[in-house]
Subunit: 515 residues, 2 copies
């Protein structure tokens, strides 16, 4: 009897795996199509692409929400714990979570959202080009409405915005995020003001000038390779908005964009996306098509990109490593620039309009602004038509600057055009986790700065592979953080890091003492 | 009563259309994935790509072979003819044809073939690179075996090779092709020999040299644009084997390849693929997702590429048009080259190893060789292991040359790696149709050479759009040919064209007279 039950449970698990793989490959095709749409597709292909994505989304939804999955899950959940190992139990648990969420949404709404997302991209690209919020507004209204309906289907008893956040950041809600962001505001607004008032301004003149694209590309490829990006399982291209996407962990595609008058933006976008890519390329290979190997949350994903972009590439040891390569690549600009000067130059804090170009001190304010707007759209306290004004008022309140156009304001981000509400908070939650991870690495490897200064990124990549990438969805965020850093999610190290670093760069202690 | 029946038949037709559209979008996704695989995909993505394609092929097959389609077809076929217009009747008829073929093949075999096709591509690329037929042979054996099984499922009473040919060239069988190809052999082998023996050889020295890639690319884009390729609905890229693929008629992607020592090959590959692309871009737009708008056969598709490559771009008027652009682009090589010299230079006949580089006189011999080998593989009279020898013996018999390596012999073509047996005959059947179409155009527009010499390709493109592209699958090949040219398929104009053209270029009449 026991033997028979075992065989049958194993058979059920195998059926579940086969189905999950089918869904995985459909979803990875959508990943390729999305990448293609942003990088490659001719403009006239948009209508068919929308149909392709909607067809695939519908099929993937059908396959994943079929009643037999519910039956299989019920059978598997009733098995004794010893029946399955940790990895298998995680696949069952994560499938249940996802299944319960998906099964509640009508197929028509799923397809409508997929098609809207594809069309919305084009509407947004054009509206942004034309600086014409009015042409984007009706679409945005409809998208918010659909995402409210969608949230209501999933859980009518929770605030719609929390349901949206949960997709990206399981374990986080407005109730948990609000005090974190309020504390951040309270700490950062004065810090940003103090930096603004400081008499000391790092020299950034060498970061302005003409940086030919061919040299920028070569430099980017060099650094991406040093970080350990696997070109056998990935590509680097150009798109309007840098991103990391593509198929699955065997085909990870990152993009960046280039400006001839600024090489730092493009280089650091590439480093950022490479951080994401290393997470994907570092997944459990034998479970590549199953949920256990997936990135834990959007915030944890962001912790990996920011780990490299901010914690590694914005420290002095990194400037030591690459200052001579910068000088070789751009000899005119980098004449007489030493590592410390380069370090200070790439760590200036300066309120600006565009989130993806923002420095690490002002960045969280961009996020908080969007978080507050999304909350407002979902609880009905804000209207789409008022967003340009609301956006600009908040920019003025938090950063002391007012966008001259909506292109540099409410139209700048791709997210809403695809219906990705609740995504923005993850950027800053991820920044906080990145800092927690880096502090743990520093404790484990006290000579980490020497490794960075000598370009030995392999130890870092492998530490992340071991501690984060290969863990997939085995543990929840707080458990993972506790295992790696000794404590659950904690915003304090991030705040302390920013205060210490920028107090030093801008000589804030001296200035206070001097006053 | 009548009214009710009408409504219900219309409803059935609409259900069929909705399903066909779903299948179309799945298939167009596979088109994008195939293109991506040959142009873009990192090498490590191959395993997941094979799974993606096999998942999609399985789903597309399921959707298209569902029993309700058979029921819908039966209902629609019993309707009075007046119930549906020509376009609708064609959609019903073509769906039936395809359905009957697909429904007989077990799903597992469909998936196996899709997966083999994807893996086979990589095996072939490597075998060709390494000049190692032995590493490709086991795969090829298995592929032939599967395609025999596949043919047997479709029609156990017809020769397996005929069933394969039928996929590409409806209306053609070995019985119809054999005499055409025997006649061709009988006419061309002596013509090729006479050309070889001729004392006159056109000067081709100006086609050798160094032709920088950037200039070649710009030249290619110029000519492609002149021909009327719509870049809003297409792209031009680079791949190992030039092809025309992509999504549907709104996203048509062609590729070419470049050699620095030969710009003609790359330019004419681009012209060839543009001919295919114009057919696709010229489809009935409002039926883009339905069978009626599809290309009629592979041979008719090839007639469109060869129409441009051979009938237009290899005539003297084309050389008149572009000789000065060639000279601007490659001033060194084209010093002292006039239009007539250019015309003769790009119309030399010279036996060579590689099919895609062959001239229009020797090309059919490459096709006949492959046709005879495919026949042999399918009727069991030839074994895969003997192919290198058989291939080389035939090359010697037909063209008087023996490939030094399998890379220049049996390993050169992509087709078999994807299981496309029965495809090769269409190249030459298409060449014959192209000649029939051109003769008809010449009769309708006696000043056509002046249009070409002045670069007015628009009239040609629109003539093809009107007479061929927009007709889709409305008529069978012989009917279409009869409508446009006044007679059904006929190889004679092609043979007469080659004989007249090359007799003139190689002064064969003078030589015979002189002897």
């Amino acid at each position: 009897m026991t033997r028979n039950t075992e065989i049958s449970l194993r058979g059920v698990y195998d059926s579940l795996v086969a189905r999950l793989q089918e869904v995985h490959y459909l979803n990875s095709v959508m990943g390729i199509l999305h990448w293609d749409q942003e990088v490659i597709m001719p403009p006239g292909g948009g209508d068919s692409r929308a149909h392709q994505l909607s067809t695939l989304a519908g099929l993937s939804h059908d396959k994943f929400t079929a009643p037999e999955i519910g039956e299989w899950l019920t059978q598997l959940e009733s098995a004794p714990e010893s029946e399955f190992n940790d990895v298998e139990r995680c696949n069952i648990r994560e499938t249940r979570r996802e299944y319960d969420r998906e099964v509640k949404v009508p197929r028509q709404l799923v397809q409508e959202l997929a098609e809207m997302g594809s069309r919305g991209h084009h509407i947004w690209v054009k509206a942004r080009e034309d600086n014409d919020f009015a042409s984007f507004a009706p679409f945005l209204e409809k998208m918010v409405e659909l995402k409210k309906q969608w949230a209501h289907h999933i859980d009518p008893n929770r605030p719609a915005y929390d349901v949206n956040i949960d997709v990206f950041e399981q374990g986080f809600t407005m109730e948990r995020i609000d005090p974190v962001f309020e504390r951040l505001k309270a700490e950062l607004v004065p810090l940003i003001a103090a930096i603004k008032d400081s008499d000391y301004k790092p020299d950034t003149s060498f970061l302005q000038g003409h940086f030919p694209l061919a040299e920028q590309k070569a430099l980017g490829q060099h650094v991406i390779r040093d970080m350990g990006f696997n070109f056998d399982n990935g590509r680097v291209d150009v798109s309007v908005h840098p991103f990391c996407g593509g198929g699955d962990c065997t085909d990870v595609r990152i993009t960046t964009r280039y400006r001839e008058d600024n090489f730092i933006e493009s280089l650091y976008a590439a480093i950022h996306e490479t951080g994401h890519a290393l997470y994907e390329q570092g997944r459990m290979q034998d479970q590549k098509a199953l949920p256990v190997s997936e990135a834990l949350t959007t915030g944890v994903h962001e912790s990996q990109s920011l780990f490299w972009e901010r914690m590694i590439a914005q420290q002095q040891a990194f400037a030591q490593r690459y200052c001579s390569l910068f000088a070789e690549t751009f000899p005119e600009a980098f004449r007489n620039v030493d590592a410390h000067k380069a370090y200070e130059g790439i760590n200036t804090c300066q309120p600006s309009f565009i989130r993806v170009e923002a420095d690490e001190v002002t960045y969280p304010m961009h996020v908080i602004l969007r978080y507050e707007i999304e909350k407002g759209l979902f609880d009905g306290s804000m209207q789409v038509q008022d967003l340009p004004r609301i956006w600009n008022d908040k920019m003025e309140a938090y950063l002391g600057i007012r966008p001259p156009t909506d292109r540099e304001g409410v139209l700048q981000d791709v997210h809403w055009s695809g219906g990705a509400f609740g995504y923005f908070p993850s950027y800053t939650l991820g920044a906080m986790m990145a800092c927690q991870f880096y502090k743990a690495l520093e404790r484990e490897m006290p000579d980490i700065r020497d490794h960075i200064a000598s370009g030995n990124f392999k130890v870092i990549k492998e530490w992340l592979n071991r501690n984060v990438h290969s863990k997939g969805k085995l543990y929840d965020t707080d458990t993972l953080l506790k295992q790696v850093t000794g404590e659950p999610f904690n915003p304090s190290p991030f705040i302390a890091y920013l205060q210490a670093k920028y107090t030093a760069i801008y000589r804030l202690a001296d200035q206070q003492a001097g006053r």
